[in-house]
């Protein structure tokens, strides 16, 4: 029996079209647009000015709080402007625009191909290095990684859990990384284990990637305390709480953090970035992005410098097909649709997914037929139909007492609803209203 989370979930068509495409370096762009807010938490503070010359890997914006992080230049060149620029959220945010000149890296970065297995950095050095290198959760949530590694007083971590699930349909960036960078990733995992002082790490991978599972099992043999587990293909297997439940059978309490049950979870991409930062002194300024969609003739997994326009990625696979109706930053279940392709790739961009016009349309909404399917697929044991009704009627106290804040916004309810009701849309509305109320109450 494959491990899985106990309740709910859906199984959308996997459509991993780009899984055979090897990671390729995308051609350097002419300019990059690097937003100062690419992570959860306080935006970073820019430390460069217009006209400054920068190198690849140079710090250009500094962390401005505990939950914040550094941002580095992904190219070498001249700072063209600091201006509010459209990003993938659809809002204009302060960004650093750099005109590319050559490709000159900081000397401190070790660009050799050899894999450095021996970990010499101390626990403290590791955490500082991760903060310095601007590493955030690369699964898409972009939560600053050093925060997760700083275990609060009174709590202890017992297990490091590595998320190689990639339960989102279409996306293959983590899959490719596991196949092509297994050793680096495993060293990264050892570093993370040292950072939180645990001797057990579990890598969870959905069973639709048998090649990655086999490859990592083989590779993990030469690393101590790292186990690879195949998981049932069930969305949202890669949800943090679901993954913990599946792997160590513990439930993160409502409103609690993984560390409350002794777990710290990081994505495989993050483990790779940690390797590069600690072993190779390379800050996070590039990442793997899947470019995929049924209407594309060619799909790809590109290694992309942060700040590269999404346009460049789409051009590289042959341009935006004429029948494109929607472009999604991320996967089809939780990704965000972008209104313009002239927005930069950021640390959280795991994929660029194209939908044809036909696939982009929502279906007509019908009455709720009380089938209860939303209840049965909710991995958090909530009642989406009820939360939607309460949000529609703006009964915020009930929205709160019915635990809307537990919702992980996986979208299984909206996916499964036979009446195509916009369940998650209304739950989000309810959550944001409840959050405002909670904040006012705390004041």
């Amino acid at each position: 029996m494959l491990k899985t989370f106990p309740k709910g979930g859906v199984h959308p068509p996997e459509n991993k079209i780009s899984k055979e495409r090897k990671i390729e370096e995308l051609q350097l762009p002419k300019t990059v647009t690097i937003p100062i807010s690419q992570h959860i938490g306080a935006p970073s503070t820019p430390i460069v000015n217009k006209g400054d010359k920068v190198k690849v890997g140079q710090l250009i914006a500094k962390s401005s709080g505990f939950v914040s992080t550094n941002i580095h230049s992904s190219v070498s060149g001249v700072v063209n402007k600091l201006e509010e620029m459209l990003d993938s959220s659809g809002y204009k945010r302060l960004s650093i625009v750099i005109d590319v000149e050559g490709d000159e890296w900081l000397d401190t970065i070790d660009r050799s191909k050899n894999i450095k297995k021996e970990v010499t950095a101390s626990q403290e050095e590791i955490i500082n290095k991760i903060l310095d290198s601007g590493i955030v959760g690369l699964g898409g949530a972009t939560f600053p990684s050093h925060v997760k590694l700083s275990i609060p007083k009174g709590k202890t971590a017992e297990y490091l859990i590595i998320n190689g699930v990639e339960c989102e349909p279409y996306l293959t960036s983590d899959h490719r990384l596991m196949l092509e960078k297994a050793d680096e990733m495993l060293v990264g995992i050892e570093i993370l284990m040292k950072a939180i002082n645990v001797n057990k790490a579990f890598i969870g991978i959905e069973n639709n990637k048998p090649d990655a599972i086999a490859h990592l099992i083989e590779k993990a043999k030469s690393y101590k305390g790292i186990e690879v587990h195949a998981l049932k293909v069930q969305y949202p297997q890669g949800g943090e709480k679901q993954l913990i439940k599946a792997l160590i059978n513990r439930e993160v309490p409502s409103g609690g953090l993984p560390v409350d049950v002794g777990a710290v979870v990081h994505n495989v991409g993050t483990a790779f970035a940690v390797y590069e930062a600690v072993q190779k002194n390379k800050p996070l300024f590039e990442r793997v992005v899947s470019v995929t969609g049924k209407n594309l003739n060619q799909t790809a997994n590109y290694l992309v410098r942060i700040g590269t326009s999404v346009n460049e990625l789409i051009e590289a696979v042959g341009g935006l097909p004429l029948d494109t109706g929607k472009v999604v930053n991320g996967g089809p279940m939780m990704g965000k649709a972008i209104g313009s392709t002239d927005v930069p790739v950021t640390k959280g961009t795991s994929g660029i997914l194209l939908f044809s016009e036909k696939e982009s349309k929502r279906k007509d909404v019908y009455n709720c037929i009380r089938c209860g399917k939303c209840v049965s697929v909710c991995p958090m044991g909530l009642e989406p139909f009820l939360l939607m009704t309460l949000s529609e009627k703006a009964i915020w106290d009930r929205v709160e007492s019915e635990k809307a804040m537990d919702c992980i916004e996986c979208g299984s309810c909206s996916y499964t609803c036979p009446s195509s009701r916009p369940l998650l849309d209304f739950i989000r509305l309810g959550k944001s209203s409840v959050l405002k109320i909670i904040r006012t109450r705390q004041k």
Partner: protein
């Protein structure tokens, strides 16, 4: 770079294949075996009754939406067809046509549309129609035509009592259950459907085939049918063990009357049944208990319809029983 207009909408961006229509037509497909058996045993009259019920249900829904509610007619969703078929399944095949039309009006007009249409009705529309007919026209609703293979006549069929009614009357007159059973069709005949009764309820095997289809298609879950039938077996089994001369055995209860039709097609109606596994089980247990209570101790020989309608009324309360939330118990 060509400038194309892109759709921006919140996630998720993909949707499952299931729709209200696919569910409704799935239920209709699942009713086909039982319908085929009714054609076999009750002939053209079964076809006639079903057609009239379906057409009147569709017509009433359309008329009410068009002229009273003045909203977009939704008859294409298939739910009116199901109501019509289920109503027909629940009446004798020789019921006068005008009564079926009146029953359809009550089912669609009173039980469904007056509450706001599909999804909003607290009671199963077909059962409301059926119970209305049963109370208003008890004689016509309980004179059951005897099954005769491939009967082409629309009139002049023999009528007789259902097995449940035979047992009920007999026990009341002091006869022993075992003697009464000897006068009835064998359990095998009940299983295939060669007994008197409403046109869709007679054949256990046909209903079970439909039920398996619904389970495979995930239109229903096992909770309600299993808990309802299980409760009937346990309750009637206890009575049978206490006094087999007075009380008939559990298998008889399962194979006769509307037990299977009710458990598979009526109690599982999404709109009027609870939404969580636990409340579904309580719902099923309640129907099972009430059915046997009415059959054994009540005035009517059959109680499935009443039992389901009574439990329908409890659904809002049962929905208050919450499923276990993730991370709920270990709150620190």
């Amino acid at each position: 770079m060509n400038k194309q207009i892109l759709t921006v909408s919140p996630s998720p961006h993909v949707y499952g294949k299931e729709s209200v229509k696919s569910i409704m037509y799935g239920v209709i497909i699942a009713m086909i075996p039982a319908f085929a058996v009714s054609l076999f045993y009750f002939g053209l009259s079964a076809l006639f009754v079903t057609l009239v019920a379906v057409i009147s249900c569709i017509a009433f829904e359309w008329l009410i939406q068009k002229f009273i509610l003045k909203n977009e007619p939704s008859i294409s969703d298939g739910s009116a067809i199901i109501t019509g078929m289920l109503l027909a399944f629940n009446v004798p095949s020789n019921l006068p046509i005008w009564m079926i039309v009146v029953g359809s009006l009550v089912a669609i007009g009173v039980a469904k549309m007056s509450f706001g249409g599909l999804g909003n009705n607290p009671f199963n529309p077909a059962l409301v129609g059926r119970v209305f007919l049963l109370i208003s026209f008890p004689v016509d609703m309980t004179s059951w035509p005897k099954p005769s293979v491939l009967n082409m006549n629309l009139v002049d069929v023999q009528t007789g009592a259902t097995p449940l009614a035979v047992i009920k009357e007999g026990v009341k007159n002091g006869q022993q259950v075992s003697d009464l059973l000897n006068t009835l069709p064998s359990y095998f005949e009940m299983f295939i459907g060669n007994i008197g009764g409403s046109l869709g309820e007679v054949s256990a095997i046909a209903l079970i085939i439909g039920g398996i289809y619904l389970l495979i298609k995930k239109i229903i879950t096992w909770h309600i049918p299993v808990s309802m039938l299980g409760t009937m077996v346990i309750f009637s089994g206890i009575l049978y063990l206490v006094n087999p001369d007075l009380y008939v055995d559990p298998l008889f209860h399962l194979l006769t009357g509307g037990a299977l039709l009710g458990a598979i097609f009526m109690a599982t109606d999404m709109v009027t049944s609870p939404m969580h596994p636990m409340s579904m089980i309580i719902f099923g247990v309640g129907i099972g208990l009430l059915t046997i209570l009415i059959r054994v101790f009540g005035a009517y020989p059959e109680g499935v319809s009443f039992a389901i309608l009574i439990m329908n009324a409890f659904v809002p309360l049962l929905n208050k029983i919450k499923p276990k939330r993730f991370g709920e118990t270990k709150k620190v």
